[in-house]
Amino acid sequence: MSYVVFFIAALGTLTGAIGVIALKDPFYSVLALVVHLVSLAVLFMLLQAEFVAAAQVVVYAGAVMVLYVFVVSYIGGQNLPGAQGPGRAGTLAAFACAGALLVELFIAVLGSGLKAIGTGGAHVAAGFGNPEAIGAFFLTKFLAPFEIASYLLLLAAVGAVTLARRRGGLESGIEEPAPRLSVAEFMRGRPYYTGTQHETLGRPESLPPSRVKEPAK
């Protein structure tokens, strides 16, 4: 059973990762990353890291991805005219670099001679990786990294606001002045059927004509 779940989740992570780099539209790349993150959370569950898996889904696949989707919608996710990628030779060279790195990682990790790498892991107690164990670690052994991480988050939030804020409005001349609506214009009233759904949908056929007032000509 765990073999089946592992292979489905591994296929999901790899498919999502390839989708991130292969899809042209950044919006679809973000969605592929969501698939990747959820599958990765399943792998974390298989490794008995329950709390990390939950945090992965809630924080990453939830909050961070929503931030990404907002930014992609904001800047439009436009495809670049012309400079789409480094060309054929550059792409080949890039994938050759990535392949060389992959071989190196395989040699470093799988050929490391660690005896336990071929086993399913050490025997662990029942509470391994649950929120209680992780929380106890954060408040005792890893208290300093926990506090430093909170300061890092604060700094990142302040930095993001500083970077992305408007500096004295947009550049002048680009933004058009808003159209002014005078009070008299507002009080003059509208003809019937304008400003409502009737304007786009046309006059409703279902209403009997005697009960519908004709618009003033």
Binding site: L14, L46, Y68, F95
Partner: protein, 99 residues
């Protein structure tokens, strides 16, 4: 499943992330590929944590997630600032580090 399988998946994801950073030009997609690499590192950390039966690796993975969230926040702020300054969404056009 043995731990070696998880480490192999982790190495594959990392290589895919490296290829994406090298190939793509859009800064948003490059940030996504950085996420891929950080997640590959997380998977390796949690795999080794399971291998030793020790929770320290999981704590490390959580801290990595915090750092990744900070990186995303600042990176997206830079991208929004690029958009405000009417720069194209292309990393090659970012040649000056002045506000």
């Amino acid at each position: 499943m043995t731990i070696a399988w998880y480490l192999a998946i982790s190495a594959l994801i990392f290589a895919i992330g490296v290829g994406g950073v090298l190939v793509r030009r859009n800064p948003l997609v490059i940030l996504l590929c950085l996420e891929l690499m950080l997640n590959a590192a997380n998977l390796a950390l949690i795999g080794f944590s399971r291998m030793w039966g020790n929770n320290d690796g999981q704590v490390f993975a959580l801290i990595v997630m915090v750092v990744a969230a900070c990186e995303v926040t600042v990176g997206l702020g830079v991208i929004v600032a690029m958009h405000r300054h009417r720069l194209p969404a292309d990393v090659d056009s970012m040649r000056e580090l002045q506000g």
